[in-house]
């Protein structure tokens, strides 16, 4: 058997929609409330209660479908997916089985080999279940189990891809792009830490070059992109090694153990639930007209790819820079607001882009924070850039000021004033410093005499050091050369 193998991955991603109320009742969807305070007879599955579809949830699901290049089915319906579990009050989940709302879409991702399309097989609408809480360390030793039904009935879309993903990195790229598109489309906040986006992963392997699909396993309920990547890596290797030993892969559902980084069998295909799907008689089919679909399409906000193209065309940003900026909608919005406030057209945009891509990204990465978690506003950045432009602070000082703004939310002006960071532009004062530096560095002066122009750069550096970076670099350069010429009688270019 070949030593090289290919990974084949399909994803089922559950995403919470950003509606204020639940999908079939009026209860709030707000996160973090006291258990069972956001419930009513409908979502508690009390006898005689009936579901009423939240029209906003339907509209968001359609919008998601359009943003993911899907066909919106003009006739779809709800079905009951039946199983017993304490967090499922009705004994069935209202979902969509054979006639989903959206089909045949795709998401384009960037790969080292260039852009690639990952097919979307279908998107359907459904309700979330509640949450079981076990009193104790684990379910086996728990003295009691409690049920919180706040989440029960929160609207979800389930996005099912084709088995088009070929590596853990592509899975991550897909999920990041998907998340970005859904946030741009305004249909979900997709907050990972609140469980608003969870993925089931279907993994199989095959010898490189083969087109047949191998037997797949399903990895359930992964809550972070990192887990998805690690789970695929492990599972693909496990499958390949088993095949190498001549074993067969069993079609089964597996769980990913985050701590140990391994997957474990949950249940085999034979033990799989028979969900006994049948059409939900309490809800009429969803019937849409072309006009309704087009109305929603017309209201679709600008999506990340379109915005990236616009940045490249309007501001002359490189594909890479534009791509980095649009990845996070909050960052892109920040960028645009800053460019507008700065008001220097394409040139200004490039300056802003540099700050966003380099300094802002670096700081957020270091802090492992989102932009929204910092007090930084576009006005902060623009205020700072204006100080640089006016020569009040140097570019180097600006970096410190920027970091301080991200930390404290103070304006650049305030920080500069408080810390005495105003740039030294007084030629006489700089000449004084230049003389001190020349006296303290005879070796550099000797070099200068021998015709080494780089000595001047070294001495400018010494001037910056002496002024804690406040010296205007151009002016310092000019002054030191003049003083060196004066002292040594040698001029170097």
């Amino acid at each position: 058997m070949s030593r090289e193998y290919e990974i084949v991955v399909g994803l089922e991603v559950h995403v919470e929609l950003a509606t204020k109320s639940k999908i079939f009742c009026g209860c709030s969807t707000a996160f973090g409330a006291e258990p069972n305070t956001q419930t009513c007879p409908v979502c508690l599955g009390m006898p005689g209660t009936l579901p009423v579809l939240n029209q906003q949830a339907l509209e968001y699901a359609i919008r998601a479908g359009l943003a993911l290049n899907c066909t919106i089915n003009k006739y779809s319906k709800f079905d009951r997916k039946q199983y017993f579990y304490p967090d499922l009050p009705k004994g069935y989940q209202i979902s969509q089985h054979d006639l989903p709302l959206c089909e045949h879409g795709y998401v384009e991702i960037d790969t080292p080999e260039g852009p690639r399309r990952i097919g979307i097989r279908r998107i359907h609408l459904e309700e979330d279940a509640g949450k079981n809480i076990h009193a104790g360390d684990n379910i086996a030793s728990a003295q009691a189990s409690y049920i919180d039904l706040n989440r029960c009935g929160v609207p979800l879309i389930e996005i099912v891809t084709e088995p088009d993903i070929r590596s853990p990195e592509e899975a991550r790229a897909f999920l990041e792009k998907l998340r970005s598109i859904l946030i741009y489309a305004g249909v979900s906040e997709a907050k990972l830490q609140e469980g608003q986006m969870r993925a089931d992963v279907n993994v199989s392997v095959r010898p490189k070059g083969s087109t047949a699909l191998g037997t797949r396993t399903e990895l359930k309920n992964l809550g972070s992109f990192r887990s998805v990547v690690r789970a695929i890596e492990y599972e693909a290797r496990r499958q390949w090694e088993a095949l190498q030993r001549g074993e067969e892969i069993v079609q089964e559902t597996r769980a990913f153990d985050e701590e140990r980084g391994i997957t474990l069998s949950l249940r085999s295909k034979e033990e799989a639930h028979d969900y006994r799907y049948f059409p939900e008689p309490d809800l009429p089919p969803i019937v849409l007209t072309d006009a309704e679909i087009e109305r929603i399409r017309a209201q679709l906000p600008e999506l990340p790819d379109a915005r990236k193209r616009r940045y490249m065309e309007a501001y002359g940003l490189s594909a890479y820079d534009a791509g980095v900026i649009v990845r996070d909608k909050a960052v892109a919005d920040f960028f645009e607001a800053a460019v507008a406030a700065y008001g220097k057209g394409a040139e200004g945009a490039k300056t802003v882009a540099n700050w966003v891509i380099n300094e802002l990204a670096r700081i957020l990465n270091e802090k492992n924070a989102e932009l929204a978690q910092t007090p930084l506003t576009p006005d902060h950045l623009v205020g700072m850039l204006k100080l640089v432009d006016a020569g009040t602070i140097s570019g180097k000082i600006a970096k410190d000021v920027f970091a301080e703004m991200v930390e404290t939310g103070k304006s650049a002006e305030e920080i500069v004033k408080e810390k005495g960071l105003v740039q030294l532009t007084d030629e006489a004062a700089l000449a004084e410093i230049a003389l001190q530096v020349i006296e303290a560095n005879p070796k550099a002066v000797e070099d200068w005499k021998k015709g080494k122009a780089t000595a001047a750069q070294f001495l400018v550096g010494q001037m910056m050091k002496a002024t804690r970076g406040r010296a205007n670099p151009q002016l310092a350069n000019k002054v030191i050369r003049a003083k060196l010429a004066e002292v040594t009688g040698v001029t170097n270019e």
Binding site: M46, P47, V52, P86, P89, K90, R276, D282, L283
Partner: protein, 490 residues
Amino acid sequence: MSATTKLTATRLNRLFLAGELSAEEIVEAYIERIQAVDGQVGAYLTVTAAEARERARKLDARRKAGDTDLGPLAGVPIAIKDNICTQGIRTTCASRILENFVPPYDATVVSRLQAAGAIIIGKTNLDEFAMGSSTENSAFQVTRNPWDLSRVPGGSSGGSAAAVAADLCAAALGSDTGGSIRQPAALCGVVGLKPTYGAVSRYGLVAFASSLDQIGPITKDVADAALLLSVIAGHDRRDSTSHPDADRLQRIQLSGDASLSGVRVGVPREYFAQGVEPGVRQAVEEAIAKLRELGATVDEVSLPHTEYALDAYYIVATAEASSNLARYDGVRYGLRAEADSLLEMYLRTRQQGFGLEVKRRIMLGTYALSAGYYDAYYKKAQQVRTLVIRDFEAAFRRFDVLVAPTSPTVAWGLGERVEDPLAMYMADILTLPANLAGLPAISIPCGLSQGLPVGLQIIGRHFDEPTVLRVAYAYEKATQHHQARPALGQ
């Protein structure tokens, strides 16, 4: 015994509004009658005497204060089938599993009745979760037919029908999934109307088979049926299957014109086939002759897929029931059996909580929806359902209403069919096609056979309750059958 309890809802309301009878007097008359007679009949699971008295006092006070907007059912005691939720009042579905369930909400129909001034007098017995045709499947008690206490009242709304027949309420609400309003109304000699599917909100009706269930009135005459329908019908945004056209039914006017000239009456041949007792056939044929006499044109029609309707019905109804009853799991409300594990708790709760017929239907329905059987059963049943609907559509191109017996037989003896579920299921054979097609249908008394009431069923087009009621009303005015009352407790 007070004559008050013999009065119709329409009449009681007039007397109350005119100040001739106080609501308190009316309520006391019924409570007295219930105390005297219901021990024999067993119509009520819960009598809400205290709440009814309290409400009567308030209505009286409002009337005395000059309130003229008391409603078309003001002062009228109404019984509610115990599968319709009543806020703060136990709603059991005649099941152990909900024996102590007190809903924190009213069904939409209950709110509408109360807004119209009605007084809820109690909750009536039924077959557990409305599954049955004799009310013998109640987990709590037997209800007897007021015409002959050794016989069943029909079902599943047997408590409501018996209560109306025995003057234990002025009118009642029932629910009809395959005939559960019409069949007991026929067997108890009263009027029972199943409205068009979507005419009356199902919110608060404990679901048996969601695509078939419909709430409707059981009354002493046709005018009362029209009155109650006009109160309970209407679009309800809490029920997505309720229809905007339902609001039209709030303005039903019964014409004083007794002529049926121009009305085309179809008589479906298949509804007179084997199994219809001669006495029932004779009473219904006499009724058809009377309709002709009143000016209607009458002709025979065929509904060729009728013979498959029963099978399709029992698959659809049990499939939906198996799903609708999954929520009774002991986790949140109702009965919970003690056990050491979750699975054991589920099993014991449902084993102890559900009766035999309910378990039988859950198993049938679960089977019909199982992987590998869905296409052969559920899907096929839905196809048959479509054919049944097409039969009706074809018939209604030629006819305004269809008439037939409601039940193939008169009331049978208690216990007679308990061991034979198929014989029990046959009781619904003439009523369930209207549920499969979502059509309005009424049963009205059309005479006696062996001293027991026979029901005439009139089926109409979707949302054409006005024509169904018009035919029923004309027939009722031209005959005396609706005035026949059981001798019980007189």
